[in-house]
C-alpha cells in the first residue's frame, strides 16, 4: 500500500513479536548444532563442527538421506506428470465435471494424513507394498498431486487459450500442441509444483510411520526416532542441514520465477 496509511505502534509491535516468534526458535538450532559439548546446549568454550562430522560420516544418516532423496525424486516425477496433465485437461475442458475432478485432486490437502496412513497400512498389505520403495513413492506421489495441480492451474489462468486454438487450427496434433505451445508457457508453474511436491515427500513422516518399517527408513523417520529416543547435538546438526537444503530449494524457486517474470 506504499505507506499511504501507516500502522500504529500497537499493531507494529505485535507484528514484530510474531515475526520473532516465527523465526527465532528455528534459528536456535544453529548455535546448538555448533556446540562443543556432548549434550544439547549452547557452545561454552568455542564452536565445534564435530556434530556435523558425526552425521556426515554416519552410514545410517547418509543411508536415510539417500533413501529420502530417491523417494522424493521418484514421487515428484509421478506427481508432476499426473498433476500437470490433469491441470491442462481440466483447464481446456472446463466443465462442471472438471470442477469436481479438481475438488477430488484437493482431497489429499484436506483429509489429515493420519487417516490416509492407516488406510494405506491396511490397503498395501495384500498388495505387498508395505515397507517397499514403490509403496512409499506411490503414497507420496499421489498426495503430491494437489501441489502441482494448484501451481499449474495458476500458470494456466494467465495463458491465452486462443494460442492453443490457433495451434490446433493450423493442424498441430494434441501432443504437438502440448509440447510446443502449452508446456513451454507454463514451465515456471510446473517447476514450482515440482519443488513443492519434492519438499512434501522429503518431509513426510506420518505415512512412512505406518507403511514403512525396516527396509525403507527415510530421513524424517530417523529424525523422529532421534527426537523420541536420544536428544543429542547431532540432531541439531541434521536440523541445520535440512534448513539449509529447504532454503536452497526456495531460493531456486524464487530465482526461477523472477527470471521468467523479468
Amino acid at each position: 500500500m506504499d505507506g499511504i496509511y501507516s500502522p500504529g505502534a500497537a499493531s507494529r509491535s505485535l507484528a514484530w513479536a510474531t515475526a520473532f516468534y516465527l523465526v527465532l526458535p528455528i534459528l536456535i538450532v544453529v548455535p546448538v548444532a555448533l556446540t562443543d559439548q556432548r549434550y544439547l546446549s549452547l557452545p561454552q568454550d568455542g564452536i565445534s563442527f564435530r556434530h556435523f562430522a558425526t552425521v556426515l560420516s554416519s552410514p545410517e544418516w547418509l543411508g536415510s538421506i539417500w533413501q529420502s532423496f530417491t523417494i522424493a525424486v521418484a514421487a515428484t516425477i509421478l506427481s508432476v506428470t499426473a498433476g500437470t496433465l490433469c491441470a491442462i485437461g481440466c483447464w481446456r475442458i472446463s466443465r462442471r465435471t472438471t470442477e469436481l475432478v479438481r475438488v477430488l485432486m484437493l482431497l489429499p490437502l484436506i483429509i489429515p494424513s493420519i487417516v490416509y496412513a492407516i488406510g494405506l497400512y491396511r490397503y498395501f498389505g495384500p498388495l505387498g507394498l508395505l515397507d517397499r520403495f514403490l509403496g512409499v513413492v506411490i503414497a507420496h506421489g499421489v498426495t503430491g498431486i494437489p501441489y502441482v495441480v494448484i501451481t499449474v492451474s495458476t500458470a494456466l489462468a494467465a495463458f491465452d487459450p486462443r494460442l492453443e486454438q490457433a495451434a490446433r487450427g493450423m493442424g498441430a496434433s494434441l501432443s504437438q500442441t502440448l509440447r510446443w505451445v502449452i508446456l513451454p508457457r507454463i514451465a515456471p508453474g510446473i517447476f514450482s509444483g515440482a519443488i513443492f511436491a519434492f519438499i512434501h515427500s522429503w518431509d513426510e513422516l506420518v505415512m512412512v510411520l505406518f507403511i514403512a518399517s525396516r527396509d525403507v527408513f527415510t530421513l524424517p523417520r530417523r529424525i523422529w526416532d532421534g527426537i523420541n529416543e536420544n536428544l543429542d547435538p547431532a540432531m541439531a546438526a541434521v536440523a541445520v542441514l535440512l534448513i539449509l537444503f529447504t532454503l536452497l530449494l526456495l531460493l531456486a524457486d524464487r530465482a526461477l520465477r523472477r527470471r521468467n517474470e523479468g
Partner: protein, 281 residues
C-alpha cells in the same frame, strides 16, 4: 465450443492418469477406513456407540477441540498482526515480512518441533536462562503438556493464517483508509470501522483453514505432548499400532473426516473454499 466437442476425448485422456491414481491409491484406502469402522469387530454401529459411552473417547475429543480452538484464536490474532503490517508496509519491507512468514512454512515440521523441545524442556535453553538469571528456582513445565502443544501448533499454523488474510487485505483500497483519516476518524476508528470489516472474509477463511488443519495434526502434538496429552490423531495411531483396535481407530478417523467436511460445508456459504486452497485461480 465445437472444437471442444471434436477433440474432447484427447483432453479427457490427460485427466485420466491423475484420476485413476487418486481413485485407486487415495480414495479406495480411505473408503476402506470408513468401511472398517462399521464392520470390525462386528457389523454395526458398535464403534460409534463409544462416542456416547466411553469417557476416554469423549476426553480425547474434548482435548482436541479445546486445543484446536485455542490454537485457531491465537494463530488468527498473531497472523492478523503480521498480515496487517505486511499490507501497510512499503514494497521493500513487504518482501522481508513475507519471507519471515514463508520460510517457517517450508521448514520441516520435525525440525520445528525439535527446536521447541530444545528450547522448552526441563534442562532447555529457556529454563536454563531463567534459572541462571534467578527469575525462577525450579524449572518450569513448558513442554510435554498442553502448553507445549499449543506453543508448537500456533507456531506451525500462523503462516497458514497469514496467507488468506493477506490476500483479502490486499484487496482493500488504501485510499479508503486515508479518506477516513481525512474525514476525522481516529486511527482506532479507521481500523475498527473500515479495515477490520473489510478484512473479515480473509479472517474467516484463515480460521477455517487453521481449524481443520489443527484437528488432524499428528507430529507436533505427539512430540510436544510427550504422550500425556492425547489429541485425536495420536489416539488413532495408538489404537491401530499399539492396541490393534481397528474398529475404534477407524471410527475416530471417520469422525475426523466428518468434522472437517462439516466445517467446510458450513463455511462454504460464507467464504469461497477454492480461494482458501488457492486452486483454480
Amino acid at each position: 465450443m465445437s472444437a471442444a466437442g471434436r477433440t474432447g476425448a484427447g483432453w479427457w485422456l490427460l485427466i485420466l492418469p491423475a484420476f485413476l491414481l487418486l481413485v485407486v491409491f487415495y480414495v479406495a484406502p480411505i473408503a476402506q477406513v470408513l468401511t472398517i469402522s462399521v464392520t470390525e469387530p462386528e457389523l454395526g454401529l458398535g464403534n460409534y456407540e463409544r462416542l456416547f459411552t466411553s469417557s476416554a473417547v469423549q476426553r480425547v475429543i474434548e482435548t482436541t477441540l479445546r486445543i484446536c480452538l485455542i490454537t485457531t484464536v491465537l494463530a488468527l490474532l498473531l497472523g492478523y498482526g503480521i498480515a496487517y503490517a505486511i499490507t501497510l508496509a512499503r514494497p521493500r519491507a513487504q518482501g522481508w515480512w513475507i519471507l519471515a512468514v514463508l520460510v517457517p512454512l517450508w521448514i520441516s515440521v520435525l525440525v520445528r518441533a525439535f527446536a521447541w523441545v530444545t528450547l522448552l524442556r526441563r534442562q532447555g535453553l529457556v529454563n536454563n536462562a531463567l534459572l541462571g538469571a534467578g527469575v525462577i528456582d525450579e524449572p518450569l513445565p513448558l513442554v510435554w503438556n498442553e502448553f507445549g502443544i499449543i506453543v508448537g501448533m500456533v507456531h506451525y499454523m500462523v503462516p497458514f493464517a497469514v496467507l488468506p488474510m493477506l490476500a483479502s487485505m490486499r484487496e482493500i483500497d488504501p485510499r479508503l483508509l486515508a479518506a477516513a483519516r481525512g474525514l476525522g476518524a481516529s486511527r482506532g476508528e479507521v481500523f475498527r470501522r473500515v479495515f477490520l470489516p473489510l478484512s473479515l472474509p480473509g479472517v474467516i477463511a484463515a480460521g477455517v483453514l487453521v481449524f481443520i488443519f489443527s484437528l488432524g495434526f499428528y507430529i507436533t502434538p505427539a512430540i510436544l505432548g510427550g504422550g500425556k496429552t492425547l489429541m485425536v490423531a495420536e489416539w488413532i495411531s495408538l489404537q491401530i499400532l499399539d492396541l490393534i483396535r481397528w474398529g475404534l481407530g477407524t471410527m475416530m478417523a471417520t469422525m475426523l473426516i466428518a468434522a472437517i467436511l462439516v466445517t467446510l460445508l458450513v463455511f462454504s456459504r460464507i467464504v469461497d473454499l477454492r480461494r482458501i486452497f488457492g486452486a483454480g485461480a
